[in-house]
Amino acid sequence: MSDHDDFEEGLARVPIEEDEEEMLSVSLSGFEGPLDLLLDLARRQKVDLRRISVLALAEQYLAFVERARRLRIDIAADYLVMAAWLAYLKSRLLLPEPAKGDEPSGEELADRLAHRLARLEAMRRAGEALMTRDRLGLDVFPRGRPEAPEQHTERRYRATVGDLLKAYTRVQTREAYRPLAVDGRAEVLSLEEARARLERMLGGGVDWQRLDGFLPEGWDRAPERRRSAVASSFAAALELARQGEVEIRQDEAFAPIHIRRKAPDA
């Protein structure tokens, strides 16, 4: 332990009690738990951790804890738990083994402890090896100026000429419909009227005719009346088509709508 070395170099004399107390406290606070302390003691044996003398190790640990207790240094409970267990292990190792039962033998318990220490040591070394690898941001570097915008969610707006037309007619009709609601029924061609008129005028003919040719006289001049007539005639035509009585045709958007009586066997 470096604390220990520093102490011996800096104060090369017989430690008086306070110094020893301080030394013990310092080293205890430097350990991360009893296993860490054990590992440190084991390392001082300078042999392969799986070849260490567990008995000697247990004795050193017990002596260490005993000294600390004598000096009334606060020792965390888990150090004491370990001490109790090591005392038990020591007795198992010293006393003759009882007949082989389910209990692990003293040797096996000692092996397990040595194994645990070896594992802790291995992980400590592995951690060190990991930290000395080429590390990103310390030894190797990524592109400092990435160009791919992390979240380049391109917002793309879509609209078609159709959308444009719909919007425009909506704006215009919104405006135009306003008076319609106010003007009352007098200006409206009812659906029933329009339908009756259509059926009457289509007669038995099978030629295509323009729908707006069916508007009643006088309904094709004043804008409101004209629109009402167009709308009612169109709705009536749709109704008749639904019932299979007529066919409707429109060559393209906003082109004139044509209508004819459906041929009997079409």
């Binding site: 100026r145 391109e154 444009l164 919007a167 007619t169 704006v171 215009q172 709308a231």
Partner: protein, 218 residues
């Protein structure tokens, strides 16, 4: 294939070079080149020659290394570019399309936006006040900004009326998007009217705006 010239010109234009001392005779230029490329790769901003030199071992011939790198990467997926006297690697411009993460979020234009656009398209040049009058509601700045951002509309001439209000007109990008050769290709108002969908215009406006016209400034 045509390779666009790197922005900012050839490395020969960089300050100094010939007179750089040869303190670093032991470090081959090839090695200096590697160092400069590593430094530029990791840098978060373009670096000036002096800044690069600062990071390199003393005596490095940065301009020579830059010239070598510019030649080395002239035909690669990224280039060494100079801009404003600073150097940076940038992906080759003609490969820029690879970088676009196709997280395209398709959106429909809001009702307000499409109506505003339609009014501008059909009535251009048109003032904001006129748009508002037609829609019957105020036009938000956000709506106009969006259409301007999309580059579908732009600001046209000022109207020579009191207050000289700005007008809006559509752009060629608008025509591109809607696959129109000209705004005259928009379905005509006459067609709309004859279909009974539009009210004939009031007489005084009728002369002013018979059909949409392309603004000739475009």
């Amino acid at each position: 294939m045509s390779v666009p010239a790197p922005a900012g010109g050839a490395p020969e234009e960089t300050p100094s070079g010939e007179d750089a001392p040869r303190l670093l005779d032991t470090l081959p230029l090839e090695e200096q080149e590697r160092m400069v490329e590593a430094v530029l790769f990791a840098a978060s901003d373009p670096l000036r020659v002096a800044e690069i030199a600062e990071r390199l071992p003393e005596g490095a011939d940065v301009p020579a290394a830059l010239a070598a790198l510019q030649a080395r990467y002239a035909d690669r997926g990224f280039r060494l570019m100079r801009s404003g006297g600073s150097w940076a690697f940038r992906t080759a411009p003609e490969l820029g399309f690879l970088m676009r993460r196709e997280a395209v979020e398709e959106r429909r234009l809001s009702r307000a936006a499409i109506e505003t656009l339609a009014i501008i398209a059909y009535h251009q040049p048109v003032t904001r006040a006129e748009i508002e009058e037609t829609r019957g509601v105020a036009v938000s700045k956000g709506t106009l900004d969006l259409l301007l951002d999309l580059d579908w509309i732009r600001i046209g001439k000022r109207r020579e009326t009191p207050g000289r209000p700005a007008t809006f007109v559509t752009t060629t990008a608008f025509l591109d998007h809607f696959s129109l050769d000209s705004v005259r290709d928009l379905p005509g108002l006459k067609e709309l009217r004859s279909a009974g969908l539009l009210e004939p215009l009031p007489p005084e406006e009728a002369q002013e705006e018979p059909e949409p016209t392309q603004d000739d400034e475009d």
